[in-house]
Homo-oligomer: 406 residues x 2
């Protein structure tokens, strides 16, 4: 088969992650290996906007060491966007592709990006312009369907697991003062990242003691009972709550109604649920509660990134190029798990359209029936993704010295 000759453009979209740049490196380095057909390797600045506004950069003019260094550089080197495309935008995209002889388009992102990648491939086909548009999965939210998991998730999971374990020890140590700690973790409808807070539990009483995700609506009385019960047993309590946690009416406990807090897709920005829970706990249980809201810091911590995640993020980028060179278009690269121990995976493909219209929430069997914890099945699923065990901590047996003063 004659391979399609022309230029390549890669773009990044949505929330940055610790490893999304590894996918850019994967695309670029695989493309550089095929310079006989891929004549130019371009990056689009600010996602699809860089194509609309013709803000393209030439990745071939970067030092190869810089391209390789992207593997360990967090956030989004090509810059990101959350742009909702109009019909006119799509025509413009095709015009730009034609003008620059772009024959390969790789969009690294979540559902919305897969929708874009799919529509572009359809439009190109209809207009008889040969184009290979392949989606590269990315989202810390881990909510893309048809893939075992999403690049970005393993790293945020490692960060959250490690940080919640540490915050748990902190709260235990200082529990006589700050009795309840509520940690607010990212996630809109899917609680995958919040669930990952359980991954560093290394003994029976280890934090987090309670986990609330949007998949299981919160009954406030039951939550308060849960907190009181843990507090009565341990003298402190650590709660991991997803920013998108819902009440029994199915609505987020805290959704900002401020107009500046609604993104271009109409998704409301979440936030404040931990602060709110602290106030309820202080008021109803008379327990001093403090919250940590690490916010975007959790999703881009390069120093705590998961090695497995980084490798797979690179891999899905490189695989997308290999598949496109083989003629694939309108698909997203997936990760298929082959085994858990040792962890092994391979790449697959799925129609981008299917991914665009689906959202993978945490399945029932990964959540405790009480709605306040995860199950062993979840831990088995998520543990290999954080890339090796976290360091073992030393815990004292605490052998009491006999009292001598009455």
């Amino acid at each position: 088969m004659d391979r399609l000759k022309g230029n390549l453009v890669v773009a990044q979209s949505g929330g940055p992650t610790a490893v999304i740049n590894a996918s850019v490196a994967g695309v670029a380095e695989e493309a550089f290996k095929n310079e006989d057909v891929i004549t130019g390797v371009y990056g689009s600045l600010h996602g699809i906007e860089g194509i609309l506004y013709e803000n393209l950069i030439d990745l071939g003019k970067e030092d190869r060491a810089t391209i390789h260094g992207l593997i360990e550089t967090p956030a989004a080197a090509l810059l990101s966007c959350r742009h909702k495309l109009t019909e006119a935008d799509y025509d413009r995209i095709l015009d730009v592709f034609k003008a620059h002889n772009i024959r390969y388009f790789f969009y690294i992102g979540g559902n919305d990006s897969m929708d874009t990648a799919y529509r572009v491939s359809v439009l190109a086909e209809r207009s008889g312009y040969e184009l290979r548009s392949v989606g590269v999965p990315k989202t810390i939210d881990n909510d893309l369907a048809f893939t075992d998991h999403c690049p970005g998730f393993g790293s945020v999971a490692r960060w959250v697991a490690s940080s919640v374990r540490d915050a748990g020890l902190d709260t235990e140590a200082i529990g006589v003062v700050d009795k309840v700690k509520v940690i607010e973790i990212m996630g809109r409808n899917a609680g995958w990242v919040t669930a990952a807070s359980a991954l560093a539990r290394d003994h029976e009483d280890a934090a987090p003691h309670l986990i609330y995700v949007p998949e299981k609506p919160i009954n406030m009385d039951r939550l308060l009972n849960d907190v009181q019960r843990v507090y009565d047993r341990l003298g402190y309590c650590v709660v991991a709550v997803c920013e998108g946690a819902k009440g029994e009416d199915g609505k987020p406990l805290m959704a900002s109604t401020s107009a500046v807090d609604v993104d271009a897709f109409g998704h409301a920005q979440m936030g404040g649920v931990a602060d709110y829970l602290c106030k309820v706990i202080a008021a109803k249980l008379k327990l001093k509660a403090r919250f940590d809201k690490p916010g975007t810091i959790q999703r881009v911590s390069s120093l705590l990134a998961s090695p497995v995640d980084r490798e797979e993020a690179y891999g899905v980028g490189a695989e997308a190029v290999r598949q496109a060179l083989n003629g694939v278009t309108g698909k997203m690269v997936t990760i298929e798990r082959l085994s858990n121990d040792p962890y092994k995976s391979r790449f697959g493909l799925v129609d981008s359209e299917k991914v665009a219209n689906a959202e993978k929430l945490i399945p029932e069997e990964y959540l405790s029936p009480e709605g306040n914890d995860v199950t062993q099945a979840f831990l088995d699923y998520a543990r290999p993704l954080i890339g090796g065990p976290l360091p073992k901590y030393a815990y004292l047996k605490k052998v009491a010295v006999a009292k001598k003063v009455s």
Copy 2:
């Protein structure tokens, strides 16, 4: 000189850190080397409360590997407290010491702990009970006087520097949506930790763009001007603000008035300043602002601890034992800096009483006259403490592709 024979007790106080347990390991391992005079090595649970209530544990009965493992275990293995002592408490402490033949007392903590260690030493002397009470410095706040810096600071500085750099890249990448990021960093009166956010700046436009510490009162109009100016230049803006940041009236911008938020020493719990600034920025500048409030997570992250800090934390513990064996009492171990490059330090001593009554704020020469940044002098001071440079990130030159579509 005949060395004083008897038991030892070590206790931890105040906010946990990533390396305070290394000081316990330093005390215990140095004590174990001197078992001819230090006949028992005890830990007091929950700081001074463990002595008051006789909740002592026998560290000699722990596996030596566990004691050594404390070096890499964050928080406070002996548990902490914020207990304000009464006169009756001091008598009780001495009774417990006498009953258990405690001759060596090491209190790891900040100003309040040094006050306690000092008073105990005075009381013992007055009552003719031979005791060596030596303070071991610890505080992420870095606000103890008479020591170059405090164990705990280097690690939180490394965490904050790295996290703010990453959050800066995140905000740059997604800046078209979330234009301003405000990161709230721990600190009541001293802004050392907030200032450390500048340590990872690796290019001219790197985050944080603005730094506000309690030492420089905030004029809100000037702050808004600062944010607008940075935003106009870069298209986004990252602000690091200390939770104890003050207004021009000298009062914290945000001090919780809730009774549950005032600790035993009457210190008000800070919090909410980043949330508040986001609201002001959104209202006045019409820029969408989000905040990260990593809270206690920043102070106990073991995985990002500074190797230099960990080593010094161990060292001040071991040195306290060596000095006490030599007859020292009523003193705190200090760190004296010998050189910056290569970084070298040695231990010294200061009267605990002096430390108890002083608070070291950031000196004028470490802060920009505008009150929105640190100076090179601060960077030179703080950089060696984070334990080696942070990983270098790869930044694209971004060579533009010539536009072809109008």
